[in-house]
């Protein structure tokens, strides 16, 4: 089972290796990991995508909480939330295919950020499903290079009743 976990940590040197070392040392899996400062510059947020059954996730959460540098651990599982990742993709685009590529870019509300005679570089944000669908559609044109960020997530604000 895949989980997205948000970890608030003290923004100090070595904290990233404490977290990643915990995962490698205990045989937990990291699919992606992003780190950035929060509103409070003394605190960073790490968003980690990991997999494991319930018992493993319970251990991951507890072990993270046990680290002295960790302030809060939150698992987004089973809670309405928004997930996003950012994709940069460079594809072959010649005179015959350009129009079709642009149509797909348009449909996905992606953006062409660099153009050369034989290639487009496109930027897309979205959840995993959207990013995967986008890659699938572009694959036939010839993907030259892909760079993507890890996932970030935020809970949805509860609606008033």
């Amino acid at each position: 089972m895949r989980h997205t976990i948000s970890v608030l940590v003290i923004n100090e040197f070595g904290v990233l290796s404490r977290i990643s070392g915990l995962f490698s040392g205990r045989g937990f899996n990291i699919e992606s990991l992003t780190v950035a400062e929060t509103l409070d510059p003394a605190i960073s947020r790490m968003t980690i995508v990991t997999t494991g059954d319930e018992a493993i996730l319970e251990q991951i959460t507890k072990q993270l909480n046990k680290l002295v540098s960790v302030i809060k651990v939150h698992d987004f599982k089973g809670e309405p939330h928004i997930e996003r990742e950012l994709l940069l993709i460079k594809i072959t685009a010649n005179a015959e295919t350009r129009a079709e590529v642009l149509r797909i870019v348009d449909i996905f509300r992606a953006k062409v950020v660099d153009v050369s005679p034989r290639a487009y570089t496109i930027e897309l944000t979205g959840d995993e499903e959207k990013v995967e669908a986008f890659k699938d559609l572009l694959r036939p044109f010839g993907i030259k290079e892909i760079v993507s960020t890890g996932r970030i997530a935020m809970p949805r604000t509860p609606k008033h009743k």
Binding site: V9, I10, F13, G14, S17, R18, G21, L22, G25, A55, E58, Q59, K62, Q63, N65, K66, L67, V68, S69, V70, I71
Partner: protein, 570 residues
């Protein structure tokens, strides 16, 4: 409010901080990067014990901490001095021993430059410390030291390492020791959830076959008295883990002995058949559980531990109680008088007590002794128990010696059996005995050793001689690496690959060379007199070389991965 004392060097501030933390002893070894501290130590009131190897310093501080409950303090230099501490730190980490290790570091400007005697010790020790620090600015020094001691000794204790670059030690700054620690991310849970505690009592009173399985957490939490009261009030048969020995009186009628791989028949059978297992300050280690699927498989399991990660890690539990063992036991004790069904409980459990008594009497811990045959190691341990009347601090090395010391010496008080349980570090016992002897100069301190492991830190005999410590070393000399040999005999077709260590020093001459006392015998009827003679020595260490039967094995034994009731017996 903070105390102020004016400008000082980092090294002086360091010593002031130790004084604030009421540290009376440092175990250390000097070197280039910590020269500023050693200079300040030259006329400082604090006691410094000069070891012969940095690993020895850490085990000695560990022994001091285990014997007293106060954090052990280590001071070593950068590079190899620091890396030599790693085994000791990992040992303390596995057994949750409070300790603060200070390592020198090259000046901040040189960090990362592969400078002379530079090692990234903070990186190296990250997975084997509770927390660690590199102090880059003298402004942070007092705060970090305060936090280090606080983290090491609160919650589930553990080692904390503080790396001190030389320029920070030489810099000057206003000394002011903080009163409080402010760690937004560190809040151990001490008080158990009262509903869970009530639930635990309810389950115990409905049980017919209850068992208490108590571990090192009882010792760490200084809860031996509370555990005894709790078990007596509810008439609970009790077993200890290796780390828990002494946490419950070894001579108590409710005590079944140790459980696990080399546990007693009664303890292992009781845990296998219990319908209510009360795990207290223990962590379901694989050496305790054997095959986890069958461990206490008929039981509702109640687990009291201060560390949430210990709960349901290896074995799923029914009633987790996160909290300090001592606090939770006090709460449990309070609930007993008003508990429903106390009378029925007593009659419901009567049969269980009879069953356990039967197991205990039919399968006592034993060995095949023969007055004419070769000297048995168990006999030596029994004699030691008899002669000391159990009033001693025992440290052990690792292997057969450790198990015989756990089985044939009974520990009535906590902090009297000091052993490397989790990591299983050979070479632990002698330096740990030194640490314990420094903490308790008048006490009898004995390292029960094997001939294999004693040699791993034998250089510390010099330390014991230097400080006139009457540490007794009982070598159960079987000229083999006994525990490994035992596994080879049972599981590797008697192919004794590299377990014979017959090329060894003459320990009597060795003792003499160090300025210690050396005694030796291989005769059963001389054991008592050798031990008695050793006990008379009060001003230097004694090495006793007991030449015992190399073929002797530790029984019972649960082969790794087997359920606890599948014991190999004598």
């Amino acid at each position: 409010m903070t105390k102020k004392k004016g400008k000082m060097t980092g090294a002086e501030i360091f010593l002031e901080c130790l004084a604030e933390e009421k540290v009376d002893t440092i175990f250390g070894f000097p070197g280039g990067a910590v020269l500023p501290i050693y200079d300040a130590l030259y006329d400082a009131p604090i006691k410094h014990v000069l070891v012969r190897h940095e690993q020895g310093a850490v085990h000695a501080a560990d022994g001091y901490a285990r014997a007293t409950g106060r954090p052990g303090v280590v001071l070593v230099t950068s590079g190899p001095g620091a890396t030599n501490t790693v085994t000791g730190i990992a040992t303390a980490y596995m057994d949750s021993i409070p300790m603060v290790v200070f390592t020198g570091q090259v000046p901040t400007a040189l960090i990362g430059n592969d400078a002379f005697q530079e090692a990234d010790i903070v990186g190296i020790t990250r997975p084997c410390t509770k927390h660690n620090y590199l102090v880059k600015d003298i402004k942070d020094l007092t705060r970090v030291i305060k936090e280090a001691f606080y983290i090491a000794s609160t919650g589930r204790p553990g080692p904390v390492l503080v790396d001190l670059p030389k320029d920070v030690l030489n810099a000057t700054y206003e000394f002011s020791y903080p009163d409080k620690v402010e760690l937004p991310s560190y809040h151990p849970t001490y008080k158990g959830n009262s509903r869970q505690i009530q639930k635990a009592i309810d389950i115990i009173l409905k049980s017919k076959r209850p068992v208490v399985y108590a571990g090192g957490g009882v010792v760490l939490s200084d809860a031996a008295a509370q555990l005894k009261t709790f078990c007596e009030k509810l008439n609970l048969p009790t077993t200890n883990t290796l780390m828990g020995l002494g946490g419950f009186p070894g001579t108590h009628k409710l005590f079944m002995g140790m459980l696990g791989m080399h546990g007693t028949y009664a303890a292992n059978m009781a845990v296998t058949n219990t319908d209510c297992l009360i795990a207290i300050g223990s962590r379901f280690d694989d050496r305790v559980t054997g095959k986890t699927e069958e461990f206490a498989q008929y039981a509702k399991i109640i687990h009291i531990d201060i560390d949430p990660t210990s709960i349901s890690k290896n074995v799923k539990v029914d009633v987790p109680i996160v909290g300090d063992v001592c606090n939770v036991l006090k709460e449990l004790i309070k609930l007993v008088p008003a508990a429903k069904g106390l009378k029925e409980y007593k009659s419901n459990t009567a049969e269980w007590h009879e069953q356990i008594d039967k197991w205990s009497t039919t399968h006592k811990l034993s060995y095949k002794d023969s007055p004419k045959g070769r000297l048995k190691p168990q006999y030596v341990v029994e004699q030691l128990y008899k002669i000391t009347k159990g009033d001693a601090i025992i440290t052990t090395e690792v292997g057969q010696n450790q198990m015989w010391a756990a089985q044939f010496f009974l520990y009535d008080k906590p902090r009297t059996y000091l052993t490397s349980g989790g990591l299983g570090t050979m070479g632990f016992g002698l330096p740990a005995a030194i640490g314990a002897q420094i903490a308790f100069p008048k006490k009898t301190v004995v390292d029960i050793a094997g001939d294999g492991s004693i040699q791993m830190n034998i250089q510390e005999i010099a330390t014991a001689v230097q400080y006139k410590l009457p540490v007794k070393v009982v070598i159960l000399n079987n000229i083999v690496l006994g525990m490994v040999r035992q596994w080879q005999e049972f599981f590797y077709d008697k192919r004794y690959s590299h377990t014979c260590v017959s090329v060894a020093p003459d320990y009597v001459k060795l003792a003499d060379a160090y300025g210690a006392v050396g005694l030796a015998t291989g005769k059963r009827d001389e054991v008592a007199s050798v031990l008695k003679e050793a006990m008379k020595v009060k001003d230097r260490p004694v090495i006793m070389d007991f030449r015992v039967d190399p073929a002797e094995n530790v029984y019972p034994m649960v082969p790794a991965g087997q359920p606890l009731n599948k014991m190999l017996l004598v």
